[in-house]
Symmetry: C2
Subunit: 656 residues, 2 copies
């Protein structure tokens, strides 16, 4: 626990709310505004989620999604020739903004246009585009993305559904081979999908070619399952009950050869398998890589959900008095309590940080998928960044929504505000589009192998063996920790010697970055050494991985937190001097120092903090919270969550 | 991140499951078994919660509660002369076990028998007992406990409802004076309560006497609100929708003089206020203190909910394989992953620790309320212990349920397992029966003022002024940190000098206790000094409190964690040598070391850990997880959650 700081505080902060909203909106201000203006018309969906039966609510959500499709807001990512908007970045921005509204609507949009439509667009070729895309964009054809199986969640390469080519009829025969190979948790499957993109092991002439995707009709015009297709409802879920998740089994369902989404591989009529990508693993990961947009979208939605929760909680804290009648007549608002500031303001700073990191990610997605960045390296970095940002953004959503709910006390428990649905609906974000821990392992794998050419092929055990097979020098070379250490020393008065325990440089972004870079490099180097030593000592790769796994996850998390900080620091640097920059600067400091504070045990253990400086950081976090307190209302107002979507107006007052 | 330990592991652990269940059941084994045998008949309520309309589900839950009342399981805490069981400890054990089932049923039981019945029992006298208790115990009279108001949650002393004595008619006139004085979130109020225990400011002859409780009829035989009573439904909630929470307003409602629950204060017919307790503040806190059972019960329920969640998650992790086809054929189960062990097993150890702490608390409650411990000190320690245990147990529930859900991936999101309802239903536990942060402030107040005689009177500002008014010596005397420091040194080889960075004593409970005691004393001493210095420097008491608040909370939390560890260490010591004691010992070590690990930054900052020893603790936590891994299934089996209450049998397999 820190002592009070005796420093003079810097000048008071002030916020021009519309200007800050413009800055947050950035390049995609227009589509964001359009969606924000559209959403209030659907505010009643939030109530429908509570009052309607599951069956009725699913229909209601479907109708809303189809209406939205009519406005063009959901088709921004498709080519203009198929009635799309032709702008991938804008499609993410639109989806992100939809995250202010009911999340069943959001996820149904994601299933229909992102996953199903996205798979046809990215894995198919012109014949599929011509056949389906315009109908998908306009909502005339609803479909589902049938990848996950009951027994195979994160391990897509091991899927059990099989598609066997029959040269006699030029058809594929799709079959669910075992109970654990049933498709499961598939959005749109239980009620609305006419067509499924089915991921299955492709077998041609008795030979397996790994997982590929095919278009398989699953329902007739009347909505009944087609012959050979069995459907089961996943039933009631914790949240998102407006989305009809279900299970699908295929019993020898025949589809024409042309049903194969053949952008990366094809089968000729006579039964010859062809692909421009020779390595099956590489082919698989290239296919999967085109679906990265789903992860980018879920992360964006998590950030929006956090913004809604913090808007409600901070506005509540600005009008609620906990112990009204103190004899000094001080009648403090909840947000005047130090603890309350501590609970909410670092989460607010992290939300801003993630917003700007997401902006960088959306830009990278746009550039790679619009053909602006065409090299392999950009694509790999995009995939890694998408995985890491998704993990941190969705964990942040879970945490900030929970803290916001608790900060509203009993009022936070009533469904009439947003928390009940926010909690229940976002809960699965940490799992779908990739379990967060698995995603962070993917990030770490990239860091450890330096995105080596056979990167995509490596599973956990492959990674262990790959790293263990490197020369010691290679491992150490990859660890730039030593250089970084010197950099930190250079930044500190007295060269990081006895003077370390001062407050000097605590608010210097170069110091923050150096600390996070040092942690990242040191952790990655440590993982590499431990993997190598484990294998050298004779443990099998599985056991080595099991023991080092939390270290692996920590290194990836450190990497992503550093990326997020860089995005924020860059944004501050790019903002013209003035009050707006001052407030962003204070938020960025608060993000950086609360990240360091949360992991200060590690920095202490590794000699990068003295006790005195560690306490100084805790003190500075408190000071920054107090400094930001007067503008907290403005900082959430700038998120511009449409008022009707906040509900419970009596709980949160009229605004700032 | 820690390196692998090269220590030889101690001998393998084994568990005799029925023997461990007996040990957990303890003194109240009989009633626990009775309730466990009763619960499967109500397993269908778990499904009804998902499928029924809110109105129907409320009726269903009411019917179940009335049926249970018929078995005697819900009336254990009432005197035998009113058809109760006459055993307060057993009533807590029964309630705790009900926490394995649907939580709307649990909370409705708590509202009816704990809060409503408990208030009549504890605040009333024979005339009230004779009039109401038998009907309450048998479920013939449903009532509610109308304390909280829209504008007054944690600050009960500031309630706005007024009860004015009218000597002309010998009646009290009950009135809701302002919009924020409306009773809110009141369980049983929206539909079922015939009678309310209303907390109101008592006014006699123009003089205010503070908050008192009165019995006020609110509905007629037909279930319609009585004249002057206005009722509103709180509507849909995040969870617990089988409980009819509502709002109540009173417009000049007249009740006879005898309606005053007059155990601690009375009004004579001619309008004279009398009380054996002179100080109004002390009177108020004496009344409130009799209601401590509610807090004890909520904490118990939180622990039971954690047990259910961990049972599902650990059984799932013992049958689910994440990456099946590794080329070494290792086919690891989820629980073979180091990270998965790390996520679940420390939570399991903490659940055991809290179970034993709750057992001590239940014993203390029983002894104080059965007249075995009659001194004031015992009562105050009970209140402090109840507040602290409730806070830690309910936060633990939130955390362990969330982690368990995430550890089950997508399967955890389906309502067919328990997580959806567990999360939603328990969420409010951190808020009701006292907001956790406010409760920890209460704990800290006791520690800081050494339960001084005017303890109960002190609000936040009073506490600041009280501590600031103490002589410096008194503050320092209270801080036994220095002695403890020597004790830690004595426990360590080399006197805590250069040898500190060894593994020596890491598994010594005396070391664990000394560490937690040192932290507690140091934090409390620090709070006292900061409060004193703040006031001395001229800040007003509110600002001083606001700045020191997180330190106050941290000291209370440290105190409770130490109490919990002591309860666990005592239990281990009382267990005969043998396999059962070995396994409890390992769990206790894991609890203690993971508490220290979680706060190792603090210990490092305060010179109580070196970097090397801090890393050794992290390593030891990993070792303990690996050691407990083979008995993890047995450890949850010993909780004896009835199989039908676990639902989703295909997700969690047939058992261990």
């Amino acid at each position: 626990m820190a002592e009070e700081s005796t420093n003079d505080l810097p000048p008071e902060l002030s916020v021009d709310v519309p200007a800050l909203t413009d800055l947050l909106d950035g390049r995609y201000a227009e589509i964001r505004r359009t969606v924000r203006e559209m959403l209030p018309a659907y505010a009643s969906v939030l109530e429908d989620a509570e009052t309607m039966t599951r069956a009725d609510f699913r229909e209601r959500v479907k109708d809303v999604v189809l209406e939205m499709a009519g406005t063009g807001a959901t088709g921004m990512g498709f080519p203009e020739e198929y009635d799309g908007g032709g702008d991938i970045g804008a499609s993410i921005a639109a989806f992100e903004t939809l995250g202010y509204g009911d999340l069943s609507v959001l996820v149904k949009v994601g299933v229909q246009f992102g996953l199903f439509g996205g798979a046809i667009l990215q894995l198919g070729t012109k014949r599929h585009h011509d056949a389906y895309l315009a109908d998908i964009v306009n909502g005339r054809l609803l479909g589902c993305f049938a990848m996950t199986e009951t027994g195979h969640g994160s391990n897509v390469q091991a899927l059990g559904t099989v598609a066997t080519y029959d040269p006699e009829t030029s058809e594929f025969v799709v079959t669910t081979t075992t109970p654990s190979a049933g498709k499961d948790y598939i959005g749109n499957a239980a009620a609305h999908a006419r067509v499924a993109v089915v991921f299955a092991q492709l077998e041609v002439g008795g030979e397996g070619h790994g997982v590929h995707a095919l278009v398989v009709p699953v329902r007739d015009e009347a909505g009944d399952p087609l012959p050979g297709v069995r459907v089961e409802d996943d039933g009631h879920k914790m949240g998102l009950n407006g989305v009809d998740n279900g299970r699908l089994w295929f019993d020898g369902v025949r589809v024409p050869r042309e049903a194969l989404l053949n952008r990366f591989a094809d089968v000729t009529e006579d039964g010859t398998y062809t692909s421009e990508i020779e390595s099956p693993g590489r082919r698989f990961f290239t296919m999967l890589g085109t679906l990265v947009q789903g992860r980018v979208s879920v992360g964006a939605a998590g950030i929006s959900a956090s913004k809604v929760a913090l808007t409600v909680a901070i506005r509540y804290a600005l009008q609620r008095r906990q112990f009204e009648a103190t004899d000094e007549g001080s009648e403090e608002l909840l947000l005047d309590y130090g603890l309350h500031q501590r609970r909410l303001l670092p989460l607010l700073a992290r939300t801003y940080a993630l917003h700007f990191a997401q902006e960088v990610l959306t830009g990278a997605l746009h550039d790679v998928f619009s053909g602006i960045d065409t090299d392999e390296e950009s694509r790999r970095l995009l995939e890694s960044r998408a995985a890491g940002t998704k993990a941190l953004a969705t964990w942040h959503a879970t945490r900030s929504i929970q803290e916001s709910r608790e900060a509203c006390g009993g009022a936070g428990y009533l469904a009439v505000n947003r928390f009940a649905a926010l909690k229940a609906d976002t809960d699965v974000f940490t799992t779908f589009e990739g379990d967060n821990h698995v995603l962070l392992q993917l990030v770490a794998k990239g860091l450890l192998t330096d995105y080596a050419s056979d990167f995509e092929d490596l599973d956990q055990l492959g990674m262990v063996r790959f790293v263990a097979g490197l020369a010691v020098e290679t491992v150490l070379e990859r660890t730039k920790a030593h250089q970084l250490l010197e950099q930190i020393r250079d930044l500190l008065p007295g060269g990081g010697g006895d003077d370390w325990d001062t407050d000097a440089g605590l608010l210097d972004p170069a110091y923050h970055l150096a600390m996070l870079r040092f942690r990242e490099e040191h952790l990655i180097g440590g993982v590499a050494r431990r993997l190598k030593r484990g294998v050298d000592s004779g443990m099998n790769a599985g056991e080595v991985f099991s023991r080092v796994q939390d270290h692996v996850i920590a290194s990836a998390r450190a990497h992503v937190e550093r990326e997020v900080l860089e995005a924020f620091v860059d944004k501050v640097a790019a903002t013209p001097e003035g009050p707006l920059r001052d407030v962003l600067n204070a938020l960025c400091d608060l993000y950086a120092l609360s990240v360091i504070e949360a992991d200060r045990a590690w920095f202490l253990e590794h000699g990068r903090l003295t006790s005195a400086r560690s306490k100084a950081i805790t003190r500075e976090v408190g000071d920054l919270c107090r400094r930001l307190r007067p503008v907290a209302g403005d900082l959430v107002a700038a998120f511009a969550v449409p008022e009707p979507l906040l509900r419970a107006p009596d709980l949160i007052g009229g605004g700032r």
